[in-house]
Symmetry: C2
Subunit: 300 residues, 2 copies
């Protein structure tokens, strides 16, 4: 089933303890789209400036991602992020953020895009997330990401969003901030009571937790020794997960759990190189093979 | 099969964000023994001073733990630890340590104890751990714990120990310290190459990782919302694991994985109250029921 994502499209600059890359292809909607494209058709909606290298658009298009929703804003500049990872590769410091065209981004979807049944609202302001939701009254599964900034400055809009969406994906520190509870099990359950049918807490190198009315479970990250650049891992997780759900066309508990696993496995590849470099060399077969290893790892 | 543990027997004082307890029963060998006693006969070897409340000995004895190896040192004082937990309940600060009788502890095992087939060397100096190993030439499975102190001040003795034992259990920061590698997958594999047949890295609320020549896997912690006091969780994990191995009488890969799971489940109860309070109210049936939940959580 068609899967639509709205989020940031970015040029990232990344410093790790051993390497540095400048102005590489990034952004939540980009990591999400590419990861989901292993499983289903994806429609990417976002905005860039006229500094955007058109080769990136061609690259995503060649991958089969629908880029007709990627607006190029004349005179605008693309969103840029610069970050530096600590030696543990799990903690990072944001050195620079230039919001640029994202500051006034107001997504207006095409008639075709409005028919999408699966929707992922990647990290963005709750105001924009509401506007997108308004345009997809027929969506069967709507999942959103959020971040500390919106929890701090748009809490009311975010609370209203939580009552409109089916699922929320957020990281551990955001779950603690949103609920004031340090225990992630209690925090996850508390976020779920704020509205969404299910909540997923991402824990970076420690995996992810799932909460619905009847289920609470934790799935560890796939243990890869080759962590080169964790940027985009969370969006790649969401892309693998939503892509699999869209492929299966349902979100039964069993499918959701498999989707979580596919998200974890997809993200475990993403971190093995900068930007989309590892995903570009990846096939569905590679994903399924590691999924088999992950399944074996979990069974006893 | 008989399981012997050598380690600390202590009086702990614990501060959590909401409560405080002074001079409660603790110590690595105590948490280990009680946890292992759900699965097999346990022989506890340790030392206390004459300030030791004899009711604690009677309590362990009544549980069926062999306490004949618990020496009371006349004129000596029991090992004491005082610690304070951060609001996240995973990080803690040691406020006071009084080594007391442990400083000169020189375990001499009885003839019966020397026949033990399963041995756990709870945290202690590598020198003492070597002395115990010397007394059990017929042990079939020897597993040790260690800590940052010994890595820093007795590295040579520790390196020699690693070549004598079958398994090592240590926590994530200790694995990083021992190897200089921040990536836990690489660190675990590197520790294994130092000698032990298998290595287990404990990650607190994030579970544990297992490394052998042919296997690397991660198992998440059981997600409990009721974390009251994490003291002893690591030793309780080791106790549940070694107790199950001793019960099964083998350490095949499949048994080791089940043992890891039992260790995780046992520790998930330990943290639900202070000292041994939760374990005292626990039955093997409770353990098996949560083990069933854990198994379901992991299968997809």
């Amino acid at each position: 089933m068609p899967l639509l994502v709205v989020g940031s499209v970015a040029l990232d600059s990344v410093e790790t303890p051993s390497e540095r890359r400048d102005d590489v292809l990034g952004g939540s909607a980009v990591f999400f789209s590419y990861s989901a494209s292993f499983f289903s058709r994806v429609r990417l909606v976002g905005a860039v400036g006229d500094d955007w290298p058109s080769e990136h658009t061609r690259f995503l298009d060649a991958r089969g991602i629908d880029v007709t929703g990627l607006q190029v804003i004349p005179g605008g500049k693309t969103f840029r992020w610069r970050g530096k990872y600590q030696p543990n590769m799990n903690d990072r410091e944001t050195l620079e953020v230039h919001i640029n065209v994202l500051g006034t981004f107001d997504p207006v979807l095409s008639d075709e895009h409005r028919t999408s049944k699966f929707l992922f609202l990647a990290n963005g302001s709750p105001t924009v997330q509401h506007k997108v939701l308004d345009q997809l009254p027929g969506a069967v599964l709507t999942v959103a990401d959020t971040m500390d900034l919106w929890i701090n400055i748009q809490r009311q809009e975010l609370d209203r969003l939580l009552r409109r969406i089916d699922g929320l994906v957020l990281n551990d520190s955001e779950a603690r901030l949103l609920t004031g509870d340090e225990n992630l099990v209690r925090a996850g359950q508390a976020v779920r009571r704020m509205g969404p049918k299910f909540v997923i807490i991402k824990k970076g190198e420690h995996g992810a937790m799932f909460f619905s009315e009847h289920e609470t479970y934790v799935m560890p990250a796939f243990p890869t020794p080759d962590v080169i650049d964790p940027t985009g891992a969370g969006d790649s997780f969401a892309g693998g997960m939503m892509g699999y759900l869209a492929e299966q066309g349902n979100f039964e508990p069993k499918t959701l759990k498999e989707a979580m696993a596919y998200g974890i496995v997809t993200a475990s590849f993403t971190v093995e190189d900068f930007s989309l470099d590892r995903l570009q060399r990846l096939t569905r077969h590679d994903l399924d093979r590691r999924m088999g290893e992950y399944r074996r790892m979990m069974s006893f």
